[in-house]
Every structure is written in C-alpha cells, then in structure tokens.
C-alpha cells in the first residue's frame, strides 16, 4: 500500500485560547493515520493560510469556540480562492450553533463538527471527502 497519507492542519484562529478540542481532535486524526500539523494559538487567517500552503495540506480544520466563526471562515475561504487553493478541504469544529451551519456551508466549508462530535465521524468524513478529490 503506497497510499498517500492525508495531511491536516489544525488551526486556532483569533484570540480564543481554548485549545483542548483542537489538540484532542489532532490526536484522534493522528491515531487514524493522518499527518497532523497544529498551528498553536492566536493565529491570524493569513498565518493559517501561509502554513497550509507551505505544508501542502489536504485539509484545514479550524477550531473556534469564541463565537467568531462566521467572519473567520469567510476570510479564510476568500483567501484560499485568491491563492488558488480552493481544493483544500475546510472543516470547522467547536462551539458552532446550528443556525450558522447553512451559512458556513454556503461559504464552502465542507464539514461542521460541533463540540462532542465523535472522532469516528470526523475521521470518516475527512477520509471520504479527501479521497473523492
């Protein structure tokens, strides 16, 4: 089997310091055989974008618990388009109320995983979505 390992960037945008979810999901994705890079805290969207391109990742996973997910996602999706990197899969986890799910999907966010989503669901989703591409 020479199947390429999926590369994921787990990113913490903005000032929010709640990183338990980000780290825990990073662990789970790694256990599922993916290569995981974690940005650390307090990242700007530009920094996240830069790291994603430099590391040539297949997936960006944003972890946001501050409530600022809509403006952050909008900025990131626009940035990806500008950089011609629209093929990078973007998923979001954290404190994301249901009423915002449609808005995020309309922006091009592929998967939304609110707090307490099972690892299995996240892993299956990413594997499925990346392999289709």
């Amino acid at each position: 089997m020479s199947e390429k390992r999926i590369r994921v960037l787990i990113a913490k945008p903005g000032l929010d310091g709640h990183d338990v979810g980000a780290k825990v999901v990073a662990h789970a994705l790694r256990d599922a055989g993916m290569e995981v890079i974690y940005t650390g805290l307090h990242q700007t969207v530009e920094q996240i974008l830069g790291t994603a391109l430099q590391e040539d990742v297949d997936v960006i996973g944003l972890s946001i618990l501050s409530g600022a997910h809509l403006p952050i996602a909008e900025k990131l999706m626009a940035g990806l388009k500008t950089e011609n990197a629209g093929d990078i899969l973007v998923v979001i986890g954290g404190n994301i109320p249901k009423r915002d799910h449609e808005k995020l999907k309309a922006m091009g966010v592929a998967g939304i995983f609110p707090t307490s989503t099972h690892f299995e669901r996240i892993v299956d989703f990413i594997k499925g979505a990346v392999n289709v591409r």
């Binding site: 000032l15 805290l41 690892f119």
Partner: protein
C-alpha cells in the same frame, strides 16, 4: 433459599468478585465498603486536627460557615463597563456579596478596543477595558469597601490590578485598606486557557512584582489565585489539578523569596481556584487532602510558622467541564451538586458555572439560578451549620489519605523532571494534559464515563439551543466602547501619557518592580494596549511550544 447460612466475610468476598471495579478519574480504585481496617494508622491530631488548627484538614477557621458563610461570587461581565456595572448591581441586589469580573478576550490579551485584532471580540465574553475610566464606570455606585472584587485576569493582570487600585484610591479608599484579589496566575495560562502575552521569564517577574508591591502597599489584597481549575478543565485529572497548582505556587513563592521576603510575610495572601465536577466523594477527598498538604508543605518545606501561611484558601466552583450541551436544564441539577461538594469541602468562596454556559455567557436568569443555588445550600439546607460534616467517615478519610499520597507523588515527579517552569517552557506539562484530555474524551465517546443525556439516555434528533437565550454580540455596544476610548484619548494629557510609557519601557529593561511605573501610567489614562506594547518592546512575545 436452598443454601445454608454462610459467614458474612466469605459472602462479601464472593460478592466482591462479581461486581464491576470502580476507578476514579484520579486513578484511585475504590471498594464498595470501607471500615476501621482502612484507617489503622489514623491519628486525629496528626491527620485532622480541630477546624482552624494545623494541619487544617477540617477547615481553616474554627467555626467555619457558622461564623461566616462562604462568599458568593458569580463570574460576570460583558459588553461595556456600563452594562457590566448594571449586572453587578443586579447581582448585589439579589444577595451576592462579592464580585468576580469577566474581561473581554482582547482586554485579557492586552489589546485595545480600537485595535483591528479586537474586532468581533469587544465585550463578547467579558467587560471590555481600555483605561482607568472603564474601572471608574464599572464600579460606580458599588460599595467597594464592603464588596470585595476578584479580577479574572492573567496576561494583563499587573495592569488591571493597578487600575483597580487606582480606582479605589480615587474613590477615597486607602491602598492599605483595599480588599480583593486577582487571578494573576500566568503559568497556568501557558498550560490551558492561553491568554499569555510575554515570554515566561518577564511574565513571572510581573507576578512577583505584583506580590511584592501588594505586600508593601496593599497588604489586604490577594494578588495571586493559583488555578488548578483551568488545568483540570484542560484535561488534567483531579490529582494533577492540585499537584500542578501547588508546583506553580511554589515557583512563585521561591521567586518572591529571592527578593528577600520570607514566605510568612506574603504567602498568607495566596489563594487558589479549584474545579468541581465528576465524582462527589472524590472531590471532597481532594480538597481535604489539598488543605492538609498545603499546611504541611508550608510548615516543613518553607519553614512557615504563621498559621495564615499554612491555611489554604480557595474558591471552589462548579466547573464548566461537567456541563453538557444536551438537555441544558440538567446542568442546573449538576451545578447544585457541585455547590454541595464545595460547601462540604470547606471552601472560602463559591461560584457556579451557569446552566447555559455550554452555549453562551450566562443570561441574567441563569446567573440568578446559580446565586439562588448557593443561597439555598446555606440558608435552607443546613450546609452552614456544622463544620466538615463528612469527617470521620471511613471512606472519606481513606480517600483523603490516598489523595494526599498521590498529589505528593505527582509533585515529586514534576520536581524530578526539572520543575514546573522548565516543564511548561518545553511543553511537557501541556502535552501531558492534552494526552489526558484525549483519553477522557475517548472514555466519554465510548460511554466508559457516563454523562446522562449526552452519552447515555440521549435523545436523538434536534437538540440545539433549547431553552437557552444566546447572548448576542452587540455591535452597538462595541461601537460605543470604541467611541468612549476615543473620547478618553482626546481629553487626557498625552504628553504625560507618553512620559509615563517611556518610563515604563525603560524600567522594563532593568530590574525595578514595575508596579509603580504601571500605576503611574494608569493614572495618566494610558490604555491597556499602550502599556502592554511598551513592555512588549522590551520583553517580546511568548513562542508557544507546539509539540502534541
């Protein structure tokens, strides 16, 4: 019954083989029954002592809540200082007797409201503070001589403490009479919560500066509240919660000792902030052991003689980590039990996470329910009547002993690996805590640890935002905050602001205590961001070790 009578011991043994093992989150395996055989080496004087006496296992005061019930201090703050002031007044009018200020995230990070990085954050999770003016507004009409205030602030704590002291002075309260406390525990911010600004060394220096300054000028002020709470919320188990907090506290104490202050002079003004969720008895054992161990460490390791130094003072509150998004009303019940645990454990101050906090900052209604819960325990249910009511229980005393042993073991482990400061700097503690968080999350997902309504008896289907009023981000109040800052900047004496900031920057390069310089800048209405940047020019910023 066809079988003949059996002796009780044999019967018990046989039964025990059939039952499932119970292992607490702390890794302690517990038996179904405890008796005198579990406390063979138990000495009342040595292990418990009377309440108010060494080693303070039973509580730090002789009569505990009978002479003064625990302080009720709900965490509150949002939007502008004016909005926060209204919430403070409401809580006080309902019987709350202390305040606990929540700061906006950008204020916690030393960033002003008019900075682009604050966009979308102004007042979202706490009160936005830019200058002394904001403290004046937030505490307007609040009897600060009677109501003590806790500032939940870390990265920018030296500045916020200075603002509180300056505000109190302006109100005519002498510095030596100012009461209150600040969280001001930067080491735990590197482990969890993440509102760090400067690298570790200057950050810890600022902690020592505040302790030393308050010791000399504001001796009633508690400058540090070491937070096991956030370490536990980040994944640590209850043993690590206490062990890491004590290792952190020891680091601060040693640093201040290096400045020539003996511990008995300042350790009495240390307090702790601990977490409650999970197994009820485990928490009670944890707190009783923690109190005893602190007394022993202070007496034996730091050679303290003042009882005040040996008395572990704590705020112990219901932890957000115990609450669930599913069926949020269940969190009211959970918080009530957490409050019960806190009262049974002899806390000095209580605060409970409100039932809607898995969704939003607490609504007025949710905050009131939390306050009422704490009041019911004291005034309806007899929790204030008798000190340490679980003392002498075979199970609780055994658990207390076991906890003390394990906390010491964990502390020795930290010491043998190079000490807390080193292990935080290289990310070892962070990695340990996030590994624990991963293990815990897996146990929750498999149902090995049960959360009713979440991973057991779960209702499928739409679950969102039931009966919870989401706190909406208020764009108008954010605009008002920025306009207010503009006004302050226009009306202050900008030459003296600049002079004070220059002095602060210069002092940061040397070894002086920075508090007098910060206070001077605060009094010129310099902003949080301006002061932070002046120090950042010298200190730089922290580079996070990101080794998962």
């Amino acid at each position: 019954m066809s079988e003949g009578p059996k002796d009780a011991k044999g019967e018990k043994k046989k039964e025990e083989k059939k039952i499932r093992p119970v292992i607490l989150e702390s890794g302690i395996e517990i038996k179904p029954v405890y008796g005198p055989e579990d406390l063979t080496d138990f000495g009342y004087e040595r292990d418990l002592g009377n309440p108010g006496e060494f080693p303070f296992t039973r509580g730090i005061h002789p009569l505990m809540y009978r002479s003064r019930p625990y302080t009720m201090r709900q965490y509150a703050g949002f939007g502008t200082p004016k909005e926060t002031n209204e919430r403070f007044k409401y809580l006080i009018s309902q019987g709350q007797n202390a305040l606990n200020v929540a700061f906006s995230l950008h204020s916690q990070m030393g960033i002003d409201s008019d900075d682009p990085r604050a966009e979308g954050e102004i007042g979202r999770v706490g009160m936005a503070v830019d200058t002394l003016k904001d403290f004046e507004i937030a505490f307007d009409g609040i009897p600060i001589d009677r109501i003590s205030t806790s500032l939940t602030i870390n990265g920018s704590a030296a500045i916020m403490i200075a603002m509180y002291l300056a505000m109190a002075e302006k109100r005519g309260v002498k510095l030596e009479d100012v009461r209150g406390n600040a969280q001001n525990d930067i080491l735990k911010e590197y482990i969890g919560r993440g509102t760090w600004i400067f690298p570790m060394e200057p950050s810890i220096r600022l902690i020592a500066d505040t302790i030393e300054y308050c010791h000399h000028k504001a001796p009633k002020y508690y400058p540090v509240s070491v937070c096991g709470y956030h370490i536990r919320e980040s994944g640590a188990n209850p043993v690590q919660e206490i062990a890491y907090a004590y290792c952190i506290a020891r680091s601060y104490i040693r640093l201040v000792m290096e400045r020539g202050l003996p511990p008995d002079e300042f350790v009495g003004r240390f307090s702790f902030n601990f977490d409650i969720h999970g197994n009820i008895f485990e928490q009670v054992g944890k707190f009783r052991a923690a109190r005893r161990l602190w007394a022993r460490i202070m007496k034996n390791e730091f050679c303290c003689t003042s009882p005040d130094s040996m008395q572990m003072k704590m705020i112990a509150g219901g932890g957000g980590g115990g609450l669930t998004i599913e069926e949020p009303e269940n969190n009211i019940v959970r918080a009530a039990y957490y409050g019960l645990v806190s009262a049974l454990s002899g806390t000095q101050t209580m605060a409970l996470c409100s039932y809607d906090e898995a969704y939003t900052i607490p609504s007025k209604k949710a905050a009131l329910i939390s306050l009422r819960t704490m009041q019911m325990l004291v005034e309806e249910m007899g929790l204030a009547d008798t000190v340490d009511p679980l003392a002498g229980s075979y199970y609780i005393e055994w658990l207390t002993n076991e906890f003390e042993r394990r906390i010491m073991q964990e502390m020795t482990k930290v010491d043998s690996m190079g000490g807390m400061v080193k292990l935080v700097a290289d990310g070892t503690i962070q990695r340990e805590v996030s590994n624990q968080a991963y293990i815990l999350e897996k146990k929750l997902q498999t149902g090995e640890i049960v959360k009713v309504g979440m991973n057991k008896y779960r209702q499928e289907g739409p679950r969102e935002e039931q009966n919870v009023d989401i706190h909406e981000y208020n764009v108008d109040s954010a605009k008002e905050k920025i306009a207010g800052l503009k006004q302050v900047k226009a009306s202050r004496d900008n030459a003296s602001v600049k002079a004070a900031l220059d002095k602060l920057r210069t002092a940061a390069k040397g070894k002086d205590n920075l508090m007098p310089y910060i206070l001077e800048a605060v009094k010129t209405y310099a902003t949080v961001g301006e002061m932070t940047n002046a120090m950042k020019d010298v200190f730089g910023t922290f580079k996070e070790p990101v080794n998962l």
